[in-house]
């Protein structure tokens, strides 16, 4: 088991470099001059002389050969910790604590992933701002999705071929095919536009005015009010897919011999379903959690675009548009690392919950 995990972790190393290199290659092939785009977008403000642009290019190492560029970009990611002796080092919540312990007086260990080309801010700071709201949206919607999907899947499977099952199956099937960008836009039009119902705000995940003066309770309710529609949008698809998995899993288990045995020895149907069948039928949808891990951090570009939320999806979209090399590569590397870890986790979970699967030789 441990051997298997270590081997899989080691295999991630070439994949990691492969992904970052592929990403770098794609960016290079685009051959868009980030400095020029930046000027066009007016991010640096007004007219800029040729010398200034040359200076920026030099600053971004765009004048260097490609291998040096790649090494610089990825070097930051592989050795993200550096000693910072300056007063105003970047520190992220947990890191400050850790760095105090790890370093001698006067120096702080900080997480440095380079700076964004867009506005020259450290990437750690940008991601640190965007990540919480994305994680919040994703976890909330997944929690809700699981809470609806599990009972619905059980009901549908236990009452197979009844009218109730057929109706839920059809509804779930249709929800499954609903495009997320459509649900989001429709919700926005009918519940937030102010032309039909003005129940929810149009954009953002918190009020822009007066948010800083609010007390904690007010802030929580303000954010909750803002994220109702995005969470609903995200929940729709996830819940449909999950309840289909749950139903299939339950149906598979219910046909097994040990369920027949349980019934034969006279257990109540309730006992059979919730005590014997449920546990095994949960396996597929629990292991799916691992595969959903990257979604939790990458978020949905579409949903964040519709509701004007600046989470990871929004940041990624902006970064790709520029293109902001360091930011794009950091995000892709981060998300793909979690994708690989997620796949590994779900494989391990499979082994833990299902002893029939072994990770010995030749997987």
């Amino acid at each position: 088991m441990w051997q298997y995990i270590i081997r899989r972790l080691l295999l991630m190393v070439p994949t990691f470099f492969g992904i970052t290199f592929a990403c770098f290659l794609v960016l290079r092939m685009a051959d868009v001059d980030p400095v020029a785009t930046q000027m066009e977008m007016g991010l640096q403000g007004g007219q800029v002389s040729q010398e200034a642009m040359e200076h920026l290019r030099k600053l971004y190492h765009l004048d260097r050969p490609w291998y040096e560029q790649y090494a610089r970009l990825v070097g930051r990611l592989t050795v993200p910790l550096c000693m910072d002796y300056s007063e105003e080092g970047i520190s992220v919540a947990g890191w400050r604590l850790f760095s105090r312990m790890a370093c001698d007086e006067g120096a702080r260990l900080t997480l440095d992933l380079g700076t964004s080309w867009r506005d020259g801010r450290p990437i750690v700071e940008i991601v640190g701002e965007a990540l919480p709201i994305t994680v919040l949206l994703a976890t909330l919607s997944l929690l809700i999705a699981y809470f609806i999907a599990i009972p619905l899947g059980i009901y549908s499977a236990v009452r197979q071929y009844t009218v109730g099952d057929q109706i839920t199956t059809v509804i779930v099937f249709m929800l499954y095919s609903l495009p997320r960008f459509w649900i989001g836009t429709m919700l926005l039009i009918f519940f937030a536009g102010g032309h039909y119902l003005e129940w929810f705000p149009l954009q953002g995940w918190h009020s822009f005015e007066g948010f800083d003066e609010m007390s904690l309770g007010e802030r929580i309710s303000d954010v909750a009010w803002h994220i109702v529609l995005p969470v609903v949008t995200l929940t729709f698809n996830a819940f449909a897919a999950l309840s289909r998995y749950m139903r299939t899993g339950m149906l598979e288990v219910i046909r097994q011999d040990y369920i027949r045995t349980a019934r034969a020895k006279g257990l109540s149907e309730h006992m059979v379903v919730f005590k014997h069948a449920l546990r095994n039928s949960l396996i597929p949808i629990i292991t799916m959690l691992g595969l959903l891990l990257p979604f939790v951090v990458s978020g949905s570009v579409v949903v964040e675009f519709i509701f004007g939320i600046r989470g990871m999806g929004g940041v990624a979209l902006e970064a790709i548009r520029l293109p902001d090399y360091p930011l794009v590569i950091t995000i892709v590397a981060f998300v793909s690392l979690l994708t690989m870890v997620g796949i590994l986790l779900s494989d391990i979970m499979y082994g833990v919950v299902d002893p029939r699967i072994s990770y010995g030789k030749e997987q």
């Binding site: 960016l27 685009a30 099937f173 836009t185 039009i189 892709v332 793909s336």
Partner: protein, 370 residues
Amino acid sequence: MAAPQRKTASGVGSPDEAEGQVRVPPQAARSVKRSYWRMVWQQFWRRRISQVGLFFIGGIFIVALSADFLASDKPIVLRMDGQTYLFPNLRDPAELRMYDNHQIIDEMKPGDWALMPLISRWGVNNHDFVSVLALGHHPQPPTRRHLLGTDPSGRDVMTRVIHGTRVSLAVGILAVSIMVVVGVILGSLAGYYGGWVDGVIMRFVEIFLCIPPLLLIVTVLAVLAPTGWWMVVAMMACIGLTGWTNIARLIRGEIFKVKTQEYVQASRALGGSDARIIVRHVIPNSISPVLVAATFGIASAILLEGALSFLGFGIPPDMASWGGILTEARGHIPAWWLAIYPGLAIFITVTAYNLVGEGLRDAIDPRLKT
């Protein structure tokens, strides 16, 4: 390398040859070949959901192919000034370029006649200047003049939804063809050879799994700067190149199961080359789950195309695409007609493909039947 690739591709294209050589003497092989796929077809057709799905897909295809006959600002056949124009709606002849159907009708003399499309008022890129001048650049709600309303620049939503069918169907089908070809080739190589070949290909699978299609499309846009239908082709290529990993993994798993079977060993004992074994025996016997995955793949490719157009990447605004119409709705909030109709079109298409996929899966692999 070139030869087995070509063979693999043709092996995918003609699944009728599948399941042939299994434990069957040569003279009987032909009837068995037919009966496996006939059985699948019977199983498939027995279910109402597959029938409904296939029926809708057929309908959508008809709409896509006849879009110019359903909605166009040029007549289908026109007899004017002693001259007959055949299919001006398709060919857009220079003499008629300045006219739309209304002006043509106005200029008609006795003896002239025309066969008009169903919606003859608006073409894909006809701006209704009358309403734009009177009411400004705002989308107009459905009226008798525009049955499904207009977009902000005064173009008819119904015409654009009808013409948008083409983009979605083309993207769905061609993207999945790319996925299947790449996925089957790499997946079968990995599955058949195992060892380091498998290791390398699986690393590639992981790499491609993690590249966001958005990044690839932005790059292709920047490098090739495609226009019109080339944009659609570029989009299909991007979706196809990021989506093949699933199919590769699927066929790899199948081949792991198949390659130890007796008939593969028999073929090897008879001196069959690796290429021959893979193309003639291994792939045909593990292709059926790929068919199912491909059908679901079309549905998700259409969704992805919609999402990308919605984000403003991809299909240029002068081409009608469902995602492109939908994205206007976000900027003009009360205009529900800009959202509901293209969304409905996407929804129906995706549901139809999913239904067919469901039916196909049940027919091919009864174990998974729910």
